[in-house]
């Protein structure tokens, strides 16, 4: 192919090299190459298959009225009732959990990055947060029950017939969900702190401002995207967890309020969320797999939406630059 060169050159016949073929590789290497292809394609098919299954089944089973009708305790589960109550339940628990987790996580991240003295304490706290991330959620649920079933915390939930505190309510579940989400939010926010350029702090200190003022007035506003994506990640974690709900929310089909204060009575009562609804309808007594599919589909959409939101907020950075559930 001739090219435009300053001097008049005869057209040279160009040969483009081929990519390295595997033909000359030893047999073992070729097998490995094929294996990688096979496994890779296979896994991706499985992944796409699962997503496709959920979508197809979900769309076919999802009717609009399911979203707005409350569940009804009826023998003909396929005919009656929707899952509006569990949807509200999910929202409530997520809200409480997020409200608990985010301020604590931001404060922790701020302390770790901006103050962090003495050093051994900072390292201990970092390991500590990472340890919380490693605790199975069912164990956290057990802990929550132990803690909140004490009479001291009676105001958070209801009591059984013989006067013992149940320790099961929206409030309790929300609080424990908050503990669950703290490591993830803290990790994201902490990374955000680390990525702030040093000159922000240096400029503020040079003006004679204290660490507190610097953190509050200069750093936190710059951290909004990190805090936002951390919050959304935490919400995703909360929404997806079932074990805590199952143990701490009582798994009743309807919200069973406790006491008489408005709003608070619902929060003190038991109820269900999308996750426990799917669980009980698929495997438990409810046994209506169609509705389980529909509810699972709604759940999946919510999670997808949150995922997309995180990607937008963090400018394309994914869930994995901060490890899921664990601090770096």
């Amino acid at each position: 192919m001739a090219t435009a060169q300053p001097a008049a050159e005869p057209a040279l016949e160009m040969v483009r090299p081929r990519r390295e073929t595997t033909a000359a590789w030893p047999l073992v290497d070729r097998l490995a190459y094929l294996l990688c292809w096979a496994v890779g394609i296979g896994l991706c098919l499985v992944a796409l298959g699962i997503v496709a299954l959920m979508f197809v089944k979900g769309i076919s089973e999802l009717h609009l009225k399911l979203l707005v009708e409350a569940p009804s305790a009826s023998l003909h589960q396929t005919q009656s009732g929707g899952f509006s109550t569990p949807i509200v339940g999910t929202l409530v628990v997520t809200a409480i959990g997020t409200l608990v987790a985010v301020p604590i996580a931001v404060a922790l991240a701020a302390w770790l990055n901006e103050y962090g003295r003495p050093r051994w304490l900072a390292r201990a706290v970092e390991s500590g947060v990472e340890t919380i991330a490693g605790i199975p959620s069912i164990v956290l649920a057990l802990f929550g029950l132990l803690l909140f079933a004490r009479p001291f915390f009676g105001f958070l939930s209801g009591s059984t017939n013989n006067g013992a505190v149940t320790g099961q309510s929206f409030l309790v579940a929300g609080l424990v969900m908050g503990i669950l989400a703290i490591p993830l939010v803290a990790a994201t926010v902490s990374e955000g702190f680390q990525q702030l350029p040093r000159r922000l702090r240096e400029a503020s200190f040079a003006l004679g401002k204290t660490r507190t003022t610097t953190t509050r007035r200069v750093l936190l506003p710059a951290m909004r995207p990190a805090i936002a994506s951390g919050t959304v990640l935490g919400m995703g974690r909360i929404i997806g967890d079932t074990a805590i709900i199952w143990i701490l929310l009582g798994g009743t089909l309807h919200n069973t309020p406790v006491g008489s204060t408005p709003i608070l009575k619902t929060l003190r009562g038991t109820g269900s969320t999308l996750t426990s609804y799917v669980f009980s309808n698929a495997a438990g007594e409810g046994n209506s797999p169609q509705k389980a599919y529909a509810a699972a589909f709604v759940l999946l959409l919510i999670v997808l939406g949150l995922n997309a939101l995180v990607t937008r907020l963090s400018g394309g950075r994914s869930l994995y630059t901060t490890r899921w559930g664990a601090k770096r």
């Binding site: 192919m1 040969v15 990519r19 390295e20």
Partner: protein, 315 residues
Amino acid sequence: MTAPPVRRIALDRHPRVVSPFEQVDGAGNGQGTAAGATAVASPTARRRAARPTTAAAERMRLESVSLAYGERWVVRDVSLPVRQGEVLALIGASGSGKTTLLRSLNRLTEITAGAGRAGRITLDGDEIHEIEVNALRRRVTMVFQQPNPFPMSIFENVAYALREAPIGSGSRPPRRRRLRRSQLEPAVREALRRAGLHEEVGDDLDRPAMALSGGQQQRLCIARALAADPEVLLLDEPCSALDPISTAVIEELIVGLRESVAVVIVTHNLQQAQRVADHVAFMHLGELVEYGTAEQVFDEPRRQRTRDYIGGAFG
């Protein structure tokens, strides 16, 4: 093929600034020692005594080689021989295509998408594009500008090429040797000796390679390249990231190596070329401007452009 006569580099005992166009009298230069690693490179150029011409064995030949990236030709119509027993230096300004030419010798240019070529390059008579690419690269190895030792121990780095070299060729599919450490160790130590690193690290070969200094890492890379006994050694500005002492050590090394491998070195440092090269190829904007012995090119350049470059008119 008989080995070319052993030569020593003649070093000035009292180096002085010499312009490339000045003739230096053959006498009056003391004998330098090849082992003098502490003979720090003076910033001035050192001249060597004239070398008796010997027909050195030709290892590679480039015939009208042109190279392109995309639609743009970066090397045009270059013809050169690469001989065993001598050091060939490719010099020229940035963008002259010397690095691209070097990389074409072991087909490393193919890694870049959109590379194109024309012309013929042969190794021992065989067109290199017909030899299997990995077999070619075992015979023509390269050392890069930035030392790039693998994240392994020193032993594993040098043994890397040995372990990965499959035996058997031709009709039977290649198998890989499974070698125990005791079988590899002599070859590893020999390679380290040839690279001048054995004295410093020979006592503990299991140290991480990343813990070595820059100069040592580069020598490790040279040892690694030599381990599989290549025919041609390509060096892409090997000293540009190193301090002067390491540079001097490596230059000594290079001269010592040329008996056993053909060495091609790309350098933008004219003094370095003067110190180590036997033949010099000056390239400019992709074209081979001048090729000749070091004395010819540096003392009596035939082309004006060469004169300009050596005189520092551009660079």
